[in-house]
């Protein structure tokens, strides 16, 4: 009924009374009316000539009948270069050069005109020979230098003449106007003969000297350097690359030293803060672990280590409800958004003291598949209550504080810079992830999350090892090169080899494991700085129970191994 009604009236109308929102109505941008119609100008097939051509060839093209072109439109792009010529007088006065005869200079200028200063071509076509002397070899730079020197001197002398002339003109204008002009005319005529471009002569005075700058030596040096660069041998190129690699290494090392020092300083202070870490929690009688506010958990918590202990203290003070398919056969799992299984053993009311007992249900904490396919389990931890009963929860949930959490939010955190490589490896492994920013499993149940976290941790370790291998391989390359260099300094190769064999070298291999657990786990796991301390155990007392944390090894699962204190 409602739908029918809605369909009957337009969408715009509905939105008008629903909310005061502007309605977009498309307005036609162009309406053809009779008024707009104009007379069409026809296109005609018209012949045209171009002033750039000397042969008066008539070519045809389509043009609008109302348009007239005097000259071919693209003629203006057919620009010609005008090269000023010197007079004989000017040559003897300013342009003499011991290395050049006038004839050769003339020849050069002829070519310059012909090829419009394309010096590479000029150089190519340059074959000046005189009957009496042998032709000199001229490089491109020689030719350029000659041309630019001539032009420089010319423009300098001419501008000087022009200056003095204009002065003269001003002074003598009234007196000997006629004589002057005739004289000037003579001069101009003389120029006309020699330069063949009188109308361009005036502007040529204006061309500044700087326009003709040319530094022969600099040019030669530039070319020779380029030549060296191009004629490097393969070995030279390789050597340069290796040198660059080493230089970069040195720089990177410097930076690393600085950051490492800072890290050390920081870690040092962290250790100082966290060392007195024994915490006792006394839980006095709580009426059926309900209200958090009056949960009389008097906890003596080291304020600096609040996170771990307060979380665990809360765990003890009430019912822990987490998806634990301890009895999955009962079918008491859950869908989205609810608790999954009733924990065996309901929380006893009137807990006076509790003891936390953590143990993995399966042997050695290994996550293995049960015989039944429907039975996959996360690593479990049992929390023993004072009255003897115990609560079994997924170990990953033990540390949660009170409140409600999304399972997928509690997956292992990952440093942002590792995100891309980890995702790539996950793709390669064919693991299907949800398309969120952080890689997450498709069905983040506790059991799946356990495995996913382990996988991610393995990947992080793998990335570290691969990085190390790659770097060492590069190092080996440059070391090999260095070694070869050293060998070449010996009189013979055999001699060098003897020196090496005499030294009786055995590999010294550092134990790298320490480094890896530190750099990868230290950042990625909530265990924090403890991971760096190898074989160091740390005792924490939480809620009456003690457990020890061991730094995780590469092979073992990441989860903190917890064991009961005797």
């Amino acid at each position: 009924m409602d739908n029918e009604y809605r369909n009957a009236i337009s969408k715009e109308l509905i939105s008008l009374y629903q909310e005061n929102k502007p309605v977009s109505v498309p307005i036609p941008t162009h309406i053809i009316s009779k008024k707009d119609k104009k007379e069409h100008t026809p296109w005609v097939w018209k012949g045209f000539t171009s002033s750039a051509r000397k042969d008066d060839l008539v070519l045809y093209r389509w043009t609008k009948s109302n348009e007239e072109y005097k000259d071919y439109y693209y003629t203006k792009y057919n620009a010609k270069l005008n090269i000023d010529m010197y007079t004989d007088e000017e040559y003897t006065k300013y342009l003499e050069d011991p290395g050049w005869t006038k004839e050769e200079t003339d020849y050069l200028f002829e070519l310059c005109k012909k090829f419009e200063l394309r010096f590479i071509i000029i150089h190519d076509r340059y074959h000046f020979s005189q009957s009496n002397s042998e032709a000199k070899k001229r490089s491109v730079e020689d030719l350029k230098d000659r041309y630019y020197t001539v032009m420089r001197n010319l423009s300098r002398s001419r501008s000087r003449i022009a200056d003095s002339e204009s002065e003269n003109n001003e002074n003598n204008n009234n007196e000997t106007g006629e004589k002057q002009s005739s004289q000037k005319q003579d001069e101009q005529e003389k120029d006309k003969e020699q330069t063949a471009q009188p109308e361009k002569q005036k502007p040529s005075y204006i061309v500044p000297e700087a326009y003709y700058t040319f530094d022969k030596e600099k040019e030669q040096k530039r070319k020779s350097l380029l030549e060296i660069l191009y004629s490097r041998t393969q070995e030279e190129i390789e050597e340069e690359e290796i040198l660059l690699y080493e230089a970069r290494n040195i720089e990177a090392n410097q930076r690393r030293f600085i950051t490492q020092r800072e890290m050390l300083l920081r870690n040092h202070s962290v250790f100082e803060e966290t060392t007195p870490k024994i915490v006792t929690v006394n839980l006095s009688a709580v009426g059926a672990g309900g209200d958090h506010s009056d949960a009389a958990a008097t906890a003596t918590v080291d304020p600096k280590s609040g996170n771990l202990t307060s979380g665990s203290a809360q765990v003890g003070s009430g019912a822990i409800l987490t998806p634990t398919p301890a009895t999955p056969a009962a079918g008491s799992g859950s869908g989205t958004g609810v608790v999954r299984a009733p924990t065996p053993g309901t929380p006893g009311s009137g807990l006076t003291k509790q003891k936390l007992v953590f143990s993995t249900l399966e042997e050695g904490g290994k996550l293995t598949f049960g015989s039944d396919d429907h039975l996959i389990q996360p690593t479990m931890a049992a929390i023993e209550l004072q009255d003897g009963s115990s609560v079994i929860v997924a170990k990953r949930d033990v540390k949660l504080g009170p409140g409600v959490f999304l399972r997928s939010d509690k997956a292992m955190p990952m440093p942002k810079n590792k995100l891309e490589p980890v995702r790539n490896i996950l793709d390669d492994l064919g693991v299907v992830c949800s398309a969120s920013f952080w890689p997450r499993p498709a069905m983040p149940t506790a059991a799946v999350c356990d495995r996913f976290d382990e996988l991610q941790q393995l990947i992080l370790n793998f990335i570290e090892i691969k990085k190390h291998v790659d770097k060492t391989e590069n190092d080996i390359k440059s070391l090999q090169h260095k070694k070869n260099n050293l060998i070449s300094q010996y009189p013979s190769k055999a001699k060098a080899e003897k020196v090496i064999s005499d030294a009786n070298i055995k590999p010294i291999v550092k134990d790298m494991e320490h480094d890896f657990t530190f750099s990868s786990l230290g950042l990625a796991t909530p265990i924090g700085p403890f991971a760096s301390a190898r074989n160091r155990t740390r005792v924490c007392r939480v809620a009456g129970g003690n457990y020890t944390t061991k730094p995780p090894m590469l092979e073992s699962s990441v989860a903190v191994e917890l064991s009961e204190e005797g």
């Binding site: 987490t322 989205t336 609810v338 999304l406 997928s408 495995r451 060492t472």
Partner: protein, 173 residues
């Protein structure tokens, strides 16, 4: 339980609040936007509301978009678990035994269906594939560890060789 569903702000009344089931929104739209689903728990539970962010994409996934049958619905399903850590007694009762109004306990189905792909079976499958990936990764790591020890050995030999060569250099005259 109240559920608030925040749509893109260009929708009319983009904040929809539901007091009861079904928590459903039917709208017409296009493109993609983030839907914020905020769940408010009953006051006696003492829980804070929790937000779930869901990227709604109203077009077929890129790798399948070419031959997507016309008119076929696009599903963006995701699975999430809520962990109630340390709930009140009363809330605990409701969670484990069903509320007073409904006597249904939520559970994960045993087998996947087209409508609900998440099941105990799917969980097992994913765990299996993850375990396979873990095994591959472990193998890869052990391979690389071996490689690493080789490379390290080579590196240290080279370093020492260079040191001996340097110290025994024939003096230049």
């Amino acid at each position: 339980m109240d559920v608030e569903i925040k749509l893109h702000e260009t929708f009319i009344d983009s904040n929809r609040i539901f007091k009861s089931e079904p928590y459903e929104v039917s709208e017409t739209g296009w493109g993609e936007f983030e839907v914020i689903i905020k769940i408010y728990f009953p006051p006696f539970s003492g829980e804070k509301p929790i937000s779930i962010y869901h990227m709604l994409k109203l077009y077929p996934p890129e790798n399948l978009s070419k031959n997507w049958p016309k008119g076929k619905a696009i599903q963006n399903l995701f699975y999430e678990e809520l962990i109630f850590s340390d709930p009140t007694e009363e809330f605990y009762e409701v969670l484990t035994n069903g509320s007073s109004t409904k006597d249904v306990k939520p559970e994960i189905p045993l087998k996947s269906t087209a409508l609900v792909p998440f099941s105990i079976e799917a969980e097992a499958d994913e765990a299996k594939s993850l375990e396979k990936a873990i095994a591959t990764m472990k193998k890869k790591i052990s391979e690389y560890r071996e490689k690493m020890s080789n490379v390290d050995k080579q590196n240290s030999i080279l370093k020492q060789e260079i040191a001996t060569l340097e110290s025994n250099l024939p003096s230049k005259k």
